[in-house]
Symmetry: C2
Subunit: 216 residues, 2 copies
DNA sequence: CCTCCCTACGTACACCGTACGTGTGTGACC
DNA sequence: GGTCACACACGTACGGTGTACGTAGGGAGG
C-alpha cells in the first residue's frame, strides 16, 4: 500500500470504521485489514487497543470547531459552546459513546474548558462558582448526547425500543405515561436540547453573582 | 454447588462481578466460574451476553427505590427523583456505564417515568412541555452520573487524569484554566450535582405554564 | 562497505462468545 | 413400577480477539 501507516492515519481510519460498522466491529485485525496491513503493524504506532480508543476520543475532541465569540454576550457564548459540542457529536454519531465513556488522558481538549470558564467569568461567576456553572452545563449537554446516541444506535439496529401497549400501561397504573405516549414517542432532539439549554441559561441569568474576591 | 442456577441468580452475580472487578472482567466463563458451573450452563437461562447485560441494566433500574411523595411540593419531588436516580448509581458505581450505554429493551423502568411525568404535571406542565421538562432534568442527571462514573473508574485505575502543569497551561494560552486549577481539581460531586439540580428547578419555577388545553 | 535501528509482518498463546451434542435427573402418564 | 419426554448441566470445538515475541528488510550514519 502506498500509505505510510502513521498513528494519525490509524486513528482516522478507526473513526471511519466505527462510523461505518459500529464500535463492536472494531478490532485490531479488521482495522489493519482496512489499512491493507497486518494487525501487529499497528502496535508500532499505538501501544494497545485502549490507547487507540483514547486517541480516537482525543482526535474527535480536537476536531471540535469552536465558534464562540468571547466578545459576544455570555448567553450567546454558552449557546454556541453547547451547540458546538453537540455538532461534533452529530458528525461522529456512533463514536459518541466511545468519547464519553473514556475520561480524558491528555491535556488536549482543554481549549473548550478554557472557553467555557472565560464565558462563566464573563457571566459574572468566579472561582469555584465558575467551575460549577461550567460543570452543570457540560453535564446537561453530556446527558443529552448520551440520550441521542442511544436513539441513533437503536435506529441503526432498527430497534424501536420497548413495546408500550396503552392497555398494559393502564393495567400497570402508568396512566400519565399512557396519556403522554404520543409526546414520549416523538423525539425532536433538537427542540429538547434547546429547551433544556435555555432553561439552564435563564437560571444562570437569575443567579446572584459572586465577586472575584469571595470566590474560592 | 447447592445453588439452583436461575436467571435471577446469574444476573445478581454478574452485578457483583462488575462491581468487584469491573465490566472488562466480565465474561461468560468467569461468571460461570463464579457460580461454580460451566459457561454453557448460563445459556439455559440467558440467550446471549448482550441480553445478560440488558438484564443487568434492568435489574439495577428495577432496584431503584423511589421515595418521591406525589403529595409533596413538586420541587421537592424533583429533588427526590433526581437523588434517587443518583443513589442507585452510587450503589452500583461500576455498573453505571453498562446501564447508561444500553437503551431500555423492556417496559420495566417506566415507573420512574410515570412519577417524573406526574411531577411535571403537578408543576403545571402539560403535554409535550411535561415531556420536555422531564427530559431536561433526566439528561442533566444522566450527564452527572456519567461524569461521576468516569471519576470513580479513574480512581479505580489510580489514574489521576491528565497532567496539568501550570507552566504548560500558560504556554498554551489557557490562563483561566490555570487560574481555576484548584477548583477544577477538586471534585465535590455532591455539591456540583445539587448546584445544577437547583439551577434547573429554579428555572422551571420561573417558566410560564402551559394549560392542559394548549398543550400538544 | 558495515552497523544499527525503525518498522512491517507472521506465528503463537490465552481468552472470548457461543453452536452443537451428550448425559443425567425429574416429573407425567400408563 | 415402567417408560417416555423434557429441562438443564456440561464438554468440546470453532472462529474470533488482544497482544507478546521473533524475524526480516530497508534506510541512515559511520
Amino acid at each position: 500500500m502506498g500509505s505510510p501507516l502513521s498513528r494519525d492515519l490509524i486513528v482516522r481510519t478507526a473513526v471511519e470504521l466505527i462510523e461505518r460498522d459500529g464500535i463492536n466491529a472494531v478490532s485490531m485485525r479488521r482495522l489493519a485489514a482496512e489499512l491493507g496491513t497486518g494487525a501487529m503493524s499497528l502496535y508500532n504506532h499505538v501501544p494497545n487497543k485502549a490507547a487507540l480508543l483514547d486517541a480516537v476520543a482525543e482526535h474527535i475532541l480536537t476536531g471540535m470547531e469552536l465558534a464562540a465569540d468571547p466578545a459576544a454576550d455570555w448567553r450567546e457564548a454558552v449557546r454556541s459552546l453547547a451547540r458546538d459540542f453537540r455538532a461534533v457529536a452529530h458528525r461522529y454519531p456512533r463514536s459518541v459513546m466511545v468519547v464519553v465513556s473514556r475520561q480524558p488522558h491528555s491535556a488536549v481538549g482543554m481549549r473548550p474548558v478554557e472557553l467555557a470558564l472565560t464565558t462563566a467569568q464573563a457571566a459574572g461567576f468566579h472561582g469555584r462558582a465558575a467551575v460549577q456553572v461550567m460543570r452543570a452545563v457540560v453535564n446537561y449537554v453530556l446527558g443529552s448526547l448520551v440520550s441521542e446516541a442511544s436513539l441513533t444506535e437503536a435506529r441503526w439496529a432498527s430497534d424501536d425500543g420497548p413495546r408500550l401497549d396503552p392497555a398494559e400501561l393502564d393495567a400497570a397504573g402508568l396512566v400519565t405515561v399512557r396519556e403522554l405516549l404520543p409526546a414520549l414517542m416523538e423525539h425532536d432532539t433538537e427542540a429538547d436540547f434547546e429547551f433544556g439549554l435555555e432553561l439552564l441559561i435563564s437560571a444562570l441569568d437569575a443567579l446572584p453573582r459572586t465577586t472575584a474576591d469571595t470566590a474560592g
